[in-house]
Symmetry: C2
Subunit: 198 residues, 2 copies
């Protein structure tokens, strides 16, 4: 445990004030342009208290979107084996998270992102800065192509989640994960490393 610093330590209202300030800042200015210092100022607390409660900026961001998994932990294993098969491994990892008890929170976040403009912005920022950027930076790709590749991967992954967990369209809703890895993996692989000009 880090030592407690700043004002009002241990006050749950303080924790909530920090989270509210962080949500507003990340949704308005995006992850990159938001600093812990600015969040602390908006919440009227010492920056050290923000770190004490939430750890790094990445960890604080994950707390604002209530995402229970850490892409920084999951993705290296997906990408370590290189670009070949990265699409399949990404789909397999994605389904393992969403099919687990953790998936309930992910579905709730997806529903909330669709109905609430700010949550939608937070989810978009999360996908871009915490997931897609981590994936694309590890593959040897033309930097100019990365944003489109990342967004296309996003379309397939979000669509898979929508059909399997929200709209529950059969046979995708109850398909064996490996059948979906085989069917959808090559799509993600092509978006990551293939020719996108048709």
């Amino acid at each position: 445990m880090a030592r407690r610093t700043g004002r009002r330590p241990g006050n749950p209202d303080t924790r909530e004030a920090i989270l509210a300030a962080a949500r507003a800042a990340f949704a308005e200015r995006g992850f990159d342009a938001t600093s812990i210092r600015a969040i602390a100022t908006a919440a009227a607390v010492d920056p050290a208290l923000v770190h004490h409660y939430f750890g790094t900026k990445e960890e604080l961001f994950r707390a604002t979107v209530a995402i229970p998994v850490d892409p920084a932990e999951l993705l290296p294993a997906v990408l370590a084996a290189g670009p070949d098969g990265a699409g399949e491994r990404l789909v397999r990892t994605f389904l393992a998270v969403w099919d687990s008890p953790t998936g309930v929170a992910a579905v709730a976040l997806l529903r909330s992102a669709v109905s609430n403009e700010w949550t939608g912005r937070l989810l978009r920022e999360f996908l871009v800065t915490q997931v897609l950027r981590r994936v694309l930076d590890r593959l040897d790709l033309d930097p100019a192509e990365r944003p489109l590749r990342g967004a296309l991967v996003g379309t397939q992954m979000i669509g898979l989640a929508m059909m399997r967990y929200v709209l529950r369209l059969e046979p995708v809703a109850s398909a064996d994960p490996e059948a979906l890895v085989a069917a959808v993996g090559p799509t993600v692989q092509r978006y990551l490393t293939g020719d996108l000009r048709g």
Copy 2:
């Protein structure tokens, strides 16, 4: 105009009562198992009045989900040229509808389908019976494979709509439609006619 028949003609409450009964029936039992007669009984009106207000069962169904385009009109042109390039043509037609003023209603429906269980069921029924079935029945495919192929097409299309119109992830949100046709068309083509076993 068809002649007016049945009870309470011209009453807006009657129209709403029919729509409410239709929504409940389509969401609970699905499109195929729902008859105009059952909807009329639930709404306490004559079946002829249902036809008078809403036309065919397909048209009534579209009214319950507030979908302003008719897949039965749009899809034949997409599919007439045969399976080659059907994926690209499907994506092009999809984007043309969603990019048009009509798309606002489509986005509203998608948002509502995510937050409301019944609207979600209606959208799923619409996709399966009015869009995917029409597409798959025209292509010379193994009937056993059609449901999975249709659902996979659905994952990519819904995901494209989510990223372009709801979460507005760049560069997909403002990409030229033809760039997306080139990037996403081959995915849809593979789901329609390609090998899905990896």
